[in-house]
């Protein structure tokens, strides 16, 4: 599977915005996720939860929750480092 094929399934969720755009965001590829919840508990601001729907493998993939429990995403990258399935594809932030 190429990068392009993976990215067609991106999920992104906006948090605190600056001129209507989120300061930081994370791209999760749901088809790669196995619902292990490591990112859910690793995220310091609680921005990730398991989706109610299922991916093709039958797992509940991780997605951003629209209400971060401890605050907005800060692009800290902890979810990226902890994901064992390389499903957290990119961590992005607004350029200064």
């Amino acid at each position: 599977m190429t990068v392009a094929q993976h990215r067609s399934k991106d999920t992104v969720s906006p948090q605190e915005t600056q001129d209507g755009r989120p300061k930081a965001l994370v791209l999760v590829v749901p088809e790669l996720c196995k619902g292990c919840e490591l990112c859910v508990y690793a995220c310091p601001s609680g921005n990730l939860v398991l989706s109610h729907s299922l991916n093709k493998k039958g797992y509940h993939p991780a997605i951003f929750s629209y209400e971060g429990t401890q605050g907005p995403c800060t692009a800290c990258g902890i979810c990226y480092w902890v994901c064992p399935d390389l499903a957290i594809w990119e961590v992005r932030r607004l350029k200064k």
Binding site: R21, V82, D85
Partner: protein, 270 residues
């Protein structure tokens, strides 16, 4: 839907060290983390095109699907010998393997020890989860006394099967060994104000350890890096439960640390 435009910069992106093929590892298994860390390190150090991975027999047997480099399949336990054959005929290649506790410490103990004795400039990553994962949860050389596995269903008895072996104790006196390091790949569960949280400091340390190991190979030295990992499926635990076990049990038997460092490659970071 948010428009992602050029105003954003990628702070962390996926590594080209990974082929993009989804892994077969169980949910929560640190093999996947190890895959990303090694792939990323090889990419950052510019070693991907010179890398030859020897695929050992264990959960990492399908590594040829995941790591974006050349691959050679080795028979069970023989990876250090195969790596020595490659490296001695082509010293410019970077050779490494990921072995499970059975591959490196049971059937392959002779190959592991002799490669260390000769100081072959190879890199061994040993994934220690105290069990035989791929074959369905049998006793490993690193299984704890009393631990329940499918071949020790009443708990491991040391009177019959001996004590778990610590490869660091076996290899650290060997003269030509350059770098022996045990790390923990498991995110550490802690109690936060709002409930359970995982800390990933171990994983960031693991990346530095992997870099060190490849630097040691570039300097011509032998390195063996042991990472403690989990196996929630064969330990019969949930992902969350399995993250506690290494910190409650395994590190008492297998403390992390530096066991040999001939080149002084470990900085003050850790």
């Amino acid at each position: 839907m948010v428009q992602i435009q050029d105003d954003y910069e990628t702070k962390l992106g996926q590594t080209t060290g990974w082929t993009g093929i989804p892994t077969h590892y169980c949910p929560g298994c640190e093999h996947g983390i190890l895959t990303r860390l090694i792939g990323l390190t090889l990419e950052e150090m510019g070693l991907l095109k010179k890398a030859v991975m020897v695929d050992s027999v264990g959960c990492s047997v399908l590594a040829y699907d995941y790591f974006n480099c050349d691959h050679i399949q080795a028979p069970h336990g023989r990876a250090p010998a195969v790596m020595a054959g490659v490296k001695r005929t082509h010293p410019e290649l970077i050779v490494f393997t990921i072995q499970g506790d059975g591959d490196a410490l049971a059937i392959g103990l002779l190959e592991t020890v002799y490669a260390a004795i000769r100081g072959e400039p190879i890199t061994v990553f040993l994934y220690n989860n105290s069990i035989y994962g791929m074959t369905g949860g049998q006793m490993a050389p690193t299984t704890m006394p009393g631990q329940i596995t499918t071949t020790t269903p009443y708990g491991r008895e040391v009177e019959s099967t001996g004590n778990p072996i610590d490869i660091m104790k076996i290899l650290s006196p060997i003269e030509r060994v350059s770098y022996l390091r045990r790390g923990v790949l498991v995110p550490q569960p802690v109690k936060a104000k709002h409930g359970l949280m995982y800390q990933v400091k171990n994983i960031l340390d693991a990346k530095r350890i992997i870099e060190n190991a490849f630097k040691v190979q570039q300097k011509g030295g032998y390195s063996l890096v042991e990472f403690l990992g989990t196996c929630n499926v064969n330990w019969k635990m949930t992902v969350e439960e399995s993250k506690h076990y290494p910190f409650d049990q395994t590190i008492k038997q297998y403390p992390p640390g530096v066991f040999r460092d001939r080149f002084g490659i470990e900085g003050k970071i850790l």
